[in-house]
């Protein structure tokens, strides 16, 4: 029997290797303001999974179709120290997908009031870079990464800018305009069961997964299915309810 088959057998009996209920998260902790050099930062731990997110600001010319709005960039790196299977070098598809799923959760929920990032219309706006680095992969990096990104945004401050001299002045100009709290929850399907917060062994044994980002008002703002398996419509409906419910619990940890 392989490890993956053992996990599948356990899950089919509604059991998990660490004894949790199928819909239970491990302990979650959020620490903000852990990096002095970043405009905002946070460390998130879910069980033994650990990620650090940092926010850096830069000034850029706005996009032509939105001359009075700042922009957002999310990048998640699967750092080799987090998991022996991660390799150094340019980001591979797994990291690209995770970055983009987290990016869309923040972007589509309009979590950052991008008009407040305008310095001079048509000339200069703030670009918010969120970099998420995995420190230890014990499963569920996506949920941990999304939570860390949001926590780092909530911790972040705006900086002052000298428009004449085109220079960033490294002094706080108040908090970053963060107006929503989107939470990404990944529901993993193994056999016919839906589980939350997979360990690394469970992640490797998954048939399919769906990451659903929900907002504080109960809306769903982003969704992505992954893995070689499928979800029935009924399973997607159930997953949406699970994401809303555990999203609410996770939001309280911020």
């Amino acid at each position: 029997m392989t490890n993956a088959n053992f996990i599948k057998k356990l899950i089919s009996e509604e059991k998990r290797i660490d004894g949790r209920a199928l819909d239970k998260f491990r302990d979650v902790s959020v620490e903000k303001g852990i990096i002095k050099t970043a405009e905002g930062s946070a460390r998130v731990k879910i069980g033994d999974t650990e990620v650090i997110a940092g926010v850096k600001l830069k000034v850029m010319a706005p996009y032509p179709d939105s001359p009075n709005e700042g922009s957002l960039m999310v990048d998640l790196e699967l750092i080799p120290l987090a998991n022996p299977e991660f390799e150094s070098g340019p980001p591979r598809e797994a990291a690209v997908e995770m970055s983009r799923v987290i990016d869309r959760g923040i972007r589509e929920s309009k979590t950052i009031d991008t008009e407040k990032l305008c310095i001079e219309e048509g000339e200069a706006v703030w670009c918010v870079n969120i970099d998420i680095h995995t420190v230890n992969d014990a499963g569920n990096l996506l949920d941990a990464g999304a939570l860390a990104a949001l926590a780092a945004l909530e911790d972040a401050k705006l900086l002052k800018y000298d428009l004449e001299g085109k220079k960033i002045i490294r002094e706080s100009a108040g908090p970053l305009p963060v107006i929503h709290k989107p939470i990404a929850i990944t529901i993993v399907k193994i056999g016919n069961q839906l589980i939350l917060d997979p360990t690394l062994e469970e992640w490797k044994a998954l048939d399919s997964r769906i990451t659903i980002t929900t907002m504080e008002n109960g809306d769903i703002c982003a969704l992505q299915k992954g893995g070689d398996g499928f979800f029935t419509k009924e399973e997607v409906e159930k997953a949406a309810d699970m994401a809303l419910e555990s999203g609410k619990a996770l939001r309280e940890r911020l």
Binding site: P64, D65, S66, P67, E69, E93, V96, E97, S99, R100, R104, R107, E108, S109, E115, I210, M215, G218, D219, I220, C221, A222, L223, Q224, K225, G226, G227, D228, G229, F230, F231, T232, K233, E234, V236, E237, A240, D241, L244
Partner: protein, 242 residues
């Protein structure tokens, strides 16, 4: 929506800007086997969105280190032609293309009999020739036809459609203005007209109720696409009069 150039309304008197009803497709065109150098090929269009796809395999995977001793490796590559949009797209790989290729690969891995052909590879190349929203969906539909035309053993076709929310209303087959200025784009793919989803990507906020409504519309839309794909394949592979 604060985007420059946005029309005031996207739905007027229950009709969309291009005159369509809320649950109406643009003109669907599907063709089979028009590329002679591909083992199998297909094309699929939703109105002005046109995709072509070529499929090869199962064939031996080279280099060998990429072989899976137990399964066929499926590789789908999604590309947009540089001239397919108003602003030229830089040729080559993009993060968007990487992500879309990954989720499309996963969708087709679900239907191909991968365990029957170890150490081999099935390649699918999708090219968006002209883009007017829902490009990944058109690409998936073309790819499914190409795989069938190539004779790749699989349990069924994959069919795809984008449903959307514009002016707080749920619509089928998201068009260009709706993609640019609408609220939500939700691309989904199902297997053989069933309600089994093998691909789902949604951007934009919906209520829980709207979400259910969109799922129902998506299943119905994919079923219609599936019928069009079958019709195109039957046209090529059954003798006239049969």
């Amino acid at each position: 929506m604060s985007k420059a150039g946005a029309p005031e309304k996207l739905i007027i008197d229950g009709k969309r800007l291009d005159g369509r009803k809320l649950d109406e497709f643009r003109k669907i065109e599907a063709d089979v086997g028009m590329l002679k150098s591909s083992q199998g090929s297909g094309s699929f269009a939703f109105g002005d969105t046109k995709a072509v796809a070529g499929a090869f395999g199962p064939r031996t995977m080279h280099p060998r280190r990429l072989q899976n001793p137990k399964k066929t490796v499926v590789r789908c590559k999604y590309f947009m032609a540089p001239y397919s949009t108003e602003d030229r797209i830089r040729p080559g790989h993009s993060r968007r293309g990487t992500e879309i290729s990954k989720v499309i690969t996963e969708a087709f891995t679900n239907v191909i009999f991968v365990e029957d052909f170890p150490k081999s590879v099935v390649d699918v190349f999708i090219e968006i020739v002209q883009a007017s929203a829902s490009t990944r969906c058109a690409g998936i539909n073309a790819a499914a036809i190409a795989l069938a035309d190539a004779g790749v053993p699989m349990r069924n076709l994959v069919s795809s459609v984008a449903v959307g929310k514009v002016d707080d209303t749920i619509v089928l087959d998201v068009g260009k203005a709706e993609d640019n200025y609408g609220q939500v784009d939700f691309a989904v793919s199902t297997v053989g007209g069933s309600d089994n989803f093998v691909h789902m990507q949604m951007d934009g906020a919906v209520t829980r109720e709207e979400f259910s409504e969109m799922l129902t519309l998506a299943v119905k839309g994919c079923k219609e696409v599936y019928d069009k794909q079958l019709e195109a394949l039957r046209k090529k592979y059954t003798k006239e009069g049969n």
